[in-house]
């Protein structure tokens, strides 16, 4: 009886040790998986990841607001945007689009995608203000603000390990894009990140040669808008996703003391592209007597729609004299 009992005890010992070893192995693997997820989430997205996620997010944003597809105006916004983006020094291609909504806001997404709304463009006064707004969004991308928030969220939620170390596709990509756009449009950007974007945005626009106060001037204008149901609708998104305007304006005022005041404002060029003149001539080709340099000369093609001249090649500052030749 002694022999079998000793053997039994030994076998029991083996079983217990094996169980313990197996449990230890499971825990260690689980911890290793967590550690890897955190390590992956703390790494910046690769260019391929950022591009894929950014493009999918752009598609989602377009789905919400739709695009304002005016080739000349889109080209103009891209020229201004690239003028400031090239001062950030980050080697990434920026793509600027216009969203077809009266809402006044601008949105940046990973991968260099930046959108400004039709409503914002309608209320900017000059090119330096546009440059200031776009430079602020460039700074968000340059500093990877949204990406960092998404990665932090992933660390807080170990269940979400997707896109940690590979380029997401399909449903995973769609889910990520949805999360990013929802976050962009519903959550307030942290004060720290907003301040950083203001700081570097002013730097980029000033280095590009613009009046550094463009963003501040636009924010000041927004504070002066009377409260009406329509202004609430136009500015509601801005209010819910950005820190209070007076705080930002005060910070910008302090910042601007360190910048030159002789930068370009370019109100006329902005008006050329964005604020149309009051043409009422009928028929033929409109020719501006005061040429706008960026339009490539003083002759502007247009068509007559319902009795008014609609230009195809640019816009003219208010007060520009126009000659109309009959169509041949």
């Amino acid at each position: 009886m002694k022999k079998p009992s000793r053997i039994l005890i030994a076998l029991l010992g083996i079983a217990v040790l094996s169980q313990t070893s197996s449990a230890q192995l499971g825990n260690v693997l689980k911890n290793a998986q967590k550690a890897k997820s955190i390590a992956d989430n703390n790494k910046p997205w690769t260019p391929d990841q950022e591009q894929a996620i950014g493009q999918a997010s752009a598609a989602k944003l377009i789905n919400v607001f739709r695009l304002y597809e005016n080739p000349d105006m889109v080209k103009y916004v891209n020229l201004v945007g690239n003028a400031v983006a090239r001062q950030s020094g980050r080697s990434i291609a920026y793509h600027f689009g216009i969203l077809d909504t009266d809402v006044v806001t601008a949105v940046s997404l990973p991968g260099g995608y930046i959108f400004i709304t039709r409503g914002a463009l309608a209320n900017l006064k000059n090119e330096s203000e546009l440059a200031g707004v776009l430079a602020h969004e460039v700074a968000h991308i340059d500093k990877r603000h949204l990406e960092r928030e998404i990665r932090a969220q992933k660390n807080a939620d170990f269940a979400k390990t997707e896109a940690a170390s590979h380029v997401p596709v399909g449903a995973e990509l769609a889910n990520m894009a949805g999360s990013i756009v929802t976050r962009s449009l519903t959550l307030q950007v942290s004060r720290d990140k907003e301040s950083e974007a203001d700081k570097f945005g002013v730097e980029y626009s000033s280095k590009a040669g613009y009046d550094a106060s463009g963003l501040r001037n636009f924010l000041q204008f927004l504070t002066s808008v009377p409260a009406t149901p329509e202004s609430k609708r136009a500015l509601g998104l801005w209010g819910s996703t950005h820190p209070p305007l007076p705080d930002r304006i005060n910070s910008l005022n302090a910042l601007l003391a360190n910048y030159p005041t002789d930068g370009q404002k370019l109100a006329e060029r902005y008006a050329w592209y964005v604020n149309p003149p009051a043409f009422t001539h009928e028929g033929g080709t409109a020719t501006a007597e005061a040429p706008a340099p960026a339009a490539g000369g003083n002759e502007v093609d247009g068509v007559v729609v319902q009795g008014v001249v609609v230009l195809n090649g640019g816009k003219l500052p208010d007060g520009t004299k126009v000659k109309v030749r009959p169509q041949q």
Partner: protein, 166 residues
């Protein structure tokens, strides 16, 4: 013999336990060192079987036409719907309205509710193939270097770019 049997069993048990621990350590190290490959491949493989969410439910923006004011401004250059130009701004909200016309078919606060908040239905809607195509086209939007140079020169802006970061 008795001692040999029990000693052998214990030795075997300790070898089993030891090898398991060694294995767990090496796996942990390997997982921590493995910076992308294996998990990425697994993730991609798992995604290949999943059906894409894209396509299908194309959401139209919630168009709400604003009352055009009479400021005498002109319609824009955009001609989205046939030959009709697309005005830039349709609201009369105390903000400057740069353009008001009767052609208000695409005017409005697309995407937001009366409080200016994005409609939840829009956020949960699937992206249409057309939206994906537009995003792809946007990704291919580039500014020709010559155009940018001319633009900077015309505006008296800085022709020099910042040094690129590593």
């Amino acid at each position: 013999m008795k001692g040999q049997v029990s000693l052998g069993a214990l030795l075997f048990a300790s070898v089993l336990a030891g090898s398991g621990y060694t294995l767990s350590l090496s796996l942990q190290q390997q997982q921590q060192n493995n910076n992308s490959g294996q998990q990425g491949q697994q993730g991609q493989q798992s995604q290949q079987g999943k059906k894409s969410q894209q396509g299908g439910n194309q959401q139209q923006g919630n168009q709400q036409n604003s009352n055009p004011s009479q400021q005498g401004n002109q319609p824009g250059q955009q001609q989205n719907n046939g030959d009709k130009p697309t005005p830039l701004f349709g609201g009369s909200i105390g903000l400057k309205s740069s353009r008001q016309t009767k052609d208000s078919a695409t005017l409005g606060f697309n995407g937001v509710d009366p409080n200016g908040q994005v409609q939840k239905a829009m956020l949960s809607a699937s992206v249409s193939p057309a939206d994906a195509m537009k995003a792809q086209q946007l990704a291919q939007t580039t500014v020709a270097p010559a155009d940018l140079t001319q633009f900077l020169q015309d505006g008296g802006l800085n022709p020099n770019a910042a040094a690129q970061k590593p």
